[in-house]
Symmetry: C2
Subunit: 428 residues, 2 copies
Amino acid sequence: MVRWIAGINPESFVVIEAGVQRPIEPVKRCRVSNFELRITRCYLLAPAPVILGMTLAAANRPVVDFNDEVIGAKAGVREEEETDKEGPPAASMLVHLDNIAMHKRAPVQQAIADIRMEMKHLFRSYLKARGFKEFEPPSLLAQHLKVAAMFSEAFLAQSPQFYKQFEIAGGRKRVFSIAPVFRAENSNTPRHMTEFTGLDLEMEIRHDYSEVLYLLEGVLLYIFRQVHRIFKDEIELVRSLYPSSEILLPEPGQKVRLTFTQAQQLLREEGPAEFRHVRDDEDMTTPQEKALGALVRQKFNTDFYVVDKFPETARPFYAKLDDTTAAGSAKGAVKVTNAFDMFLQGQEILSGGQRINHPDELEARIRAKGIDPASPGIDGYVQVFRQVGVPPHGGGGIGLDRIVAWYLGLPSVHLAAYYPRTPRRLLP
Amino acid sequence: MVRWIAGINPESFVVIEAGVQRPIEPVKRCRVSNFELRITRCYLLAPAPVILGMTLAAANRPVVDFNDEVIGAKAGVREEEETDKEGPPAASMLVHLDNIAMHKRAPVQQAIADIRMEMKHLFRSYLKARGFKEFEPPSLLAQHLKVAAMFSEAFLAQSPQFYKQFEIAGGRKRVFSIAPVFRAENSNTPRHMTEFTGLDLEMEIRHDYSEVLYLLEGVLLYIFRQVHRIFKDEIELVRSLYPSSEILLPEPGQKVRLTFTQAQQLLREEGPAEFRHVRDDEDMTTPQEKALGALVRQKFNTDFYVVDKFPETARPFYAKLDDTTAAGSAKGAVKVTNAFDMFLQGQEILSGGQRINHPDELEARIRAKGIDPASPGIDGYVQVFRQVGVPPHGGGGIGLDRIVAWYLGLPSVHLAAYYPRTPRRLLP
């Protein structure tokens, strides 16, 4: 029997009947070294092929290449595995996805998947405990990303923004959704996918939009702290493949909240020379964001912080202007919004703020942005604010794939997705 | 102030400052009749229009017409409300959806939405407690429902079937997903939508596929019993608009499980005359299903039951044949599968069964169904079973919109959806 068992191809599915016993000496190169199985029967239920497209050892090595490939490439056995300095060969993302079963069997991918699902669960449970109701936004829309076939004019959702606000208009008070969103981004980068999962919420405001800011800060810190607590082993496993430093979270009462103006000033005064002349009325670039992350870590000892009061030029038409500065203070020239971003190590992970809830104000802002309020998609949106009185409200959106990838220090969001989608990748 | 308050349009959003006091006599026509508010201040935060597109009273009446309309019709004030014999006027689904905020403010729609979300939650919590891991299937595929724009050849998911099986192949043991699925059905019926939410699960089988059957039976009965327990008031509210009889669930130990052959025999022997000659090798029609539901209720006092061992002609290629009957028994002529449906009052609410886990067997069945195993979409699916040894497994799928609608006796699944989608309906 031993010879027969030794002949079973790795990754076959077997059922064994065995007694548990103590080994004479501890078993080496195993996670469980103090017990062993004395096999009495073994059934081969499903054999694996003689040659695997990717071995488990290779699947559990860091992915060496995220270059994308042509759509429709066949899954199958490939011999594109690359060697590197130490250990078993590592494989490209292409090989991983062409061997999806082996990709998923790798302990590192199972750890990432478990952490991802727990983040969704934490988002949901934190909000439900605070009176939020979940809802499901549609994927098929009359605007945005076009769908052919049956529908002469159907599109895919780029964001549940309008629908979150319809729920608030519909009297649901506090809502959230966890749903796929779609982008027709033609960029093959480690930061983008054409389909990803959005964690979105929207809530009535009682006194001030800072209620929204505090709640979003709360849910993100809750997710990060709980994941840190629950997944110590899994995070260590991921770090053993993709090294990253411990994420610094603010101590209670030590949260860092900068206004956009303060952030730009910090960059001008203490950032790299190239940012000496950044302006208060222009959005930050990705390099600026990274530099700010480094400055905040150094000065405030945290990787998580908020930048609030973005200039209106950097925000969509539905962002509510800050009435206090808009009324013409000393620096009345720069109109700012009650809108903010949240960052992790200099990377934006959340965008949120107060939304305009009056139809005339909304229409004026739409026009100010050079958009026709009667254009398709916009007209139906504005109309909802004319149907009923809509309470003051605000909310925010988080890309699940990004918080998984960046919290774990993964080299690409594609590793955080169950089935990554890019303009060139629809399989498996 | 009283005159000013009386002048506020209904459905405006106001903030009031008030003291609570006992009324001199109980307040009539209110849900809370023993307390009243003594208002000291009132702020009008967001006024509603003078004329509402649909009043709250109308929104909380049964929808009178589910006829669909042309895509892209503008939301707005319409005067299409119909009158009926008693009470305030009722409105069509068209008017409801064109006044989405009022539609959502109706207590009956809030009750339906709350029950829907709880059903999702119950599905999730029941499965998580039994070791299932949630995952997210992609919406964008290389086959099925075509998406234009950015993607030259992208399609929308009709089912997470293949992806559930990839997760099992990937060693995840027990998985479920809650995700949108899409159908290009050109039928405007109360049973169909182009986008709906699928509750799907897949699990390894240890001994026999009845493990899958029992688990699915368990999760559905758990959902129905919990909803019955938690939402007594809401169900009563829904029934006051859409009358339906109490759903009869089987007593513990009294579950009804018929084989397809037994079900057809029951129809032949005790059903309506038109079903005297139904055959064991042909799928049931919708009228047959309804008649069977009535027979089962009458004979077994339950509205919930299972029909097992469907003939292979009525099942897709991935359904596992029943080896015991396939081996040529007395009635060897009819090949049956380890696949089943579950019914509620004669309407199918779940389809499930064991799947083929060996690539050669799978390919043979694909050919037997007249499909080329090398055709796009099929080839990549079969390939996964050649990548590794895949354990025996099975699962099932539930349409969330249908179980909400049919459990509550709603006249259309469109009432159960947050934003119903049909070939002619993409707004709001």
